[in-house]
Symmetry: C2
């Protein structure tokens, strides 16, 4: 089958990838669309030493008569497959299972291929009024909504989001729609900030001066760099909370003393559950399609990768199979 293979320092399109192995606990899915995420770009630079088929953001249809879901049902899929036996799996947090595999990231081939397999319970039907190009945002949207599962935010509290990358924009959308209090997004790209200016207050980062320091109950760092945490420590109120979404490729020089002096809480936040994300897409209709920058057929993987790697680009989608 057609697939994109991780070949650091790049990506390779192949016509003859082996079909994914299937067993009685898993369903096969025919992929319509796959999204390129920053993690994918990092994997093709060698991050985590991943080998195999890339991709973890997708929408497709069940392609399997043995699945509990009907053949042809439109689905998205939770990307973490737990061992099913540990305390994490027992509490519904397969995404922290120490023996998990992760679609297109860890010991499991991904969704940038004509077909994939996932455990039956990982697949969720897409509500019928959620279009494919919207449903493909379920995974990154779940990562944005995860914040609301971790923190208890009061309606009047002030929120500052750092970073106008894809995740930062999704987080801004979710706060813009869900939160009553002030929400500000700081970024570096006027064009990207404009995407959400009807939902939240937006500012170019360098136009946000020191009078804004220590004014924010919650600061979400979605910059993807360690400078984000330093900035967040300036902006957050004493006793406030920083939500940390940025991972770092290397150890960075950091002085965390302000966290202690101001008794700030830092909440590490990764990916989230799909069910609330699908509900949110169906009921609140966040305008995620605005985040689509370009669409490429899977055969044009290199062009898609180049586009997704360019500065200031939003979401790049790959068309895998025709509907």
């Amino acid at each position: 089958m057609k697939a994109l293979i991780c070949r650091p320092p790049g990506v390779e399109f192949v016509e003859n990838a082996p079909e994914p192995e299937i067993n009685t606990s898993e369903s096969r899915v025919r992929v319509y669309w796959a999204g390129i995420c920053r993690t994918d770009l990092e994997l093709t630079k060698g991050y985590m030493g991943f080998e195999g088929i890339l991709g973890h953001e997708f929408v497709g249809v069940v392609d399997d008569d043995a699945s509990p879901l009907p053949r042809g049902a439109r689905v998205v899929g939770e990307i973490n497959a737990g061992c099913g036996r540990c305390e994490w799996c027992a509490s519904g947090m397969e995404r922290h299972c120490p023996n998990r595999t992760v679609l297109g990231i860890l010991k499991r081939g991904g969704c940038m291929a004509e077909r994939l397999t996932l455990p039956h319970e990982n697949l969720l039907p897409v509500p019928k009024d959620v279009p494919d190009r919207v449903a493909v945002f379920t995974e990154p949207l779940a990562a944005a909504l995860e914040i609301f599962e971790q923190i208890h935010i009061e309606p009047i509290q002030r929120v500052c989001i750092l970073g106008d990358g894809k995740l930062g924009l999704l987080i801004a959308m979710t706060f813009g729609i869900r939160h009553e209090g002030p929400v500000v997004l700081l970024g570096r790209h006027h064009e990207k900030l404009k995407t959400v200016e009807d939902l939240v207050e937006v500012h170019l980062e360098n136009q946000f001066d020191a009078t804004m320091n220590k004014q924010w109950d919650y600061v979400v760092d979605a910059t993807g760099s360690s400078s984000g945490l330093n900035r967040a420590m300036q902006l957050v109120k004493p006793r406030g909370t920083i939500v940390l979404k940025s991972t770092m490729a290397h150890a960075e020089a950091l002085d965390l003393t302000p966290l202690v002096i101001d008794e700030v809480t830092v909440v590490g936040s990764r990916c989230g559950r799909f069910a609330p994300a699908l509900e949110f897409l169906a009921r609140r209709k966040p305008p995620v399609e605005r985040l689509i920058d370009a669409e490429f057929p899977i055969e044009q993987a290199r062009a898609a990768w180049d586009r997704a790697s360019a500065r200031g680009v939003k979401k790049v989608l790959l068309k895998v199979n025709a509907e």
Copy 2:
């Protein structure tokens, strides 16, 4: 009056320090005992650029007819004096007031002197069955108990404390007395660990192997060094909490990616309220006197400083005035 002055890189005993200025909002206190804290040692190395009379841990008596407390009442004192007008002061958190002064630390002379002044409301009477040498631990004990004001810990959860310095030992005592679940203290000094071995499980740090990693719901870093946070990130469970008590003198190379991947929460924790600490001393009788390493008259400040600076030493007290 006799006093100890911060003179980086050391400390100076003087006979003729000026008496503290007094106004109608403050009470004068005659100091019996003062404790030497790591912060004092840092101040005399130049930290915060502090000038003036050192010291913030004390017990004494009211020495003032205009005080709302009777002359001669035994007291301890909250060290942060807020502006009284900001949102922090209004909510009882003078210790985060941006315009605060801090006894012996920030724009206010300290307690290593025959007399000090503090706002009336900062002074708290010492319960009569709490001896002076115990009451002088109120301030560091409040910093240990602050953890319980910030986190909600369930009885069965597992706690690991890093660092057998004075604060680490006090934290171990409070968890040993208050917490039903497993509590372990890791340190580097067999003698110091022995101080609390009847209250918590103690281990030399290097005897705690990798099988203990990711096993702890709460890890308290009281090592005073950035290596503590790295160790805490190894030990804490996914979705667990690190309580950060360590401040750093410089920016350190840190990779916080594990916080994001494991969705760990870091809670910065500094000093706490005195009222719960006095209650705890009176009712639970933690054996804080075990932490006293040596006592010196204030005139022997240099010897006291040398002792307090030596490796593996616990609390050094200064006798200021006779009872």
